[in-house]
């Protein structure tokens, strides 16, 4: 699946997007965050405070316990500051 990162999540990871292949046991958004966090220091820094991370599955807001299911795209970003 495609993973997208925005704002300071993007800056800390050092990538705007990438293809990821999480293992089958990664079921929810929260589990995907944990799996990514274990990759290296950048991911760990980006996801250090889960309360400040928002996620979207296929361009729709998703809660941490939402199953990733067959989503083709997941995005991670800080709380939004538009308007």
């Amino acid at each position: 699946m495609k993973a997208l990162y925005f704002a300071w999540v993007r800056e800390r990871i050092g990538l705007a997007e990438e293809e990821i292949e999480p293992p089958r046991e990664v079921v929810t958004v929260r589990e995907l965050i944990d799996w990514l966090s274990a990759r290296d220091e950048g991911y760990a820094a980006a996801f250090a405070n889960p309360a400040t991370i928002r996620a979207a599955l296929d361009k729709t807001h998703a809660a941490p316990d939402a199953p990733i299911g067959a989503a083709r795209e997941i995005a991670f970003f800080p709380p939004m500051t538009g308007g």
């Binding site: 729709t60 538009g82 308007g83």
Partner: protein, 155 residues
């Protein structure tokens, strides 16, 4: 009852003209009684801000604003609705966001416009980064708990 209007939603780098948007919505109509127009500006309170860089999630920004707009149409009997949100580099004094609501009566137009702005701030995927006038690298603007509280009052 009149058919539900289709909201006009645009996410763009370019500036917009509120007068033109109002004319587009009202042109040729005689049934609208109230228009509420809101413009959010980039502000600099102490001379320290050179510009804001607005990052957005293309595709989701439009989709999420459209979802919020449809929710407003569910809640209030609106006759028209326009939302424009800019991205990219925006300097103090420039326009960032525009909401226009049309209804037979002012209470619906006011309430829908306030709802739209409160929800856009917490749900539309945009992030502001400050560019400082002194050349120093600025910070990402933090989300405010007041914005969450403002959105929560519509639940």
């Amino acid at each position: 009852m009149a058919p539900r209007p289709a909201p006009a939603v645009r996410v763009q780098a370019e500036d917009f003209d509120p007068g033109r948007e109002q004319a587009l919505l009202t042109g040729g109509r005689r049934d609208i009684g109230a228009l509420v127009s809101f413009v959010g500006l980039c502000r600099d309170e102490d001379g320290a801000l050179e510009a804001l860089e607005l990052e957005h999630y293309p595709g989701m920004a439009e989709a999420e604003i459209r979802r919020v707009a449809e929710e407003a149409l569910e809640r209030w009997p609106l006759q028209g609705l326009t939302v424009i949100h800019r991205f990219g580099r925006i300097q103090p004094g420039e326009q960032i966001v525009f909401v226009l609501t049309a209804a037979r009566h002012r209470a619906d137009a006011f309430a829908a416009a306030a709802f739209l702005m409160d929800y856009l701030k917490t749900r539309a995927p945009f992030w502001k980064k400050e560019r400082r006038a002194d050349g120093a690298s600025g910070d990402w603007v933090s989300a405010k708990s007041e914005d969450d509280a403002a959105a929560d009052r519509w639940r």
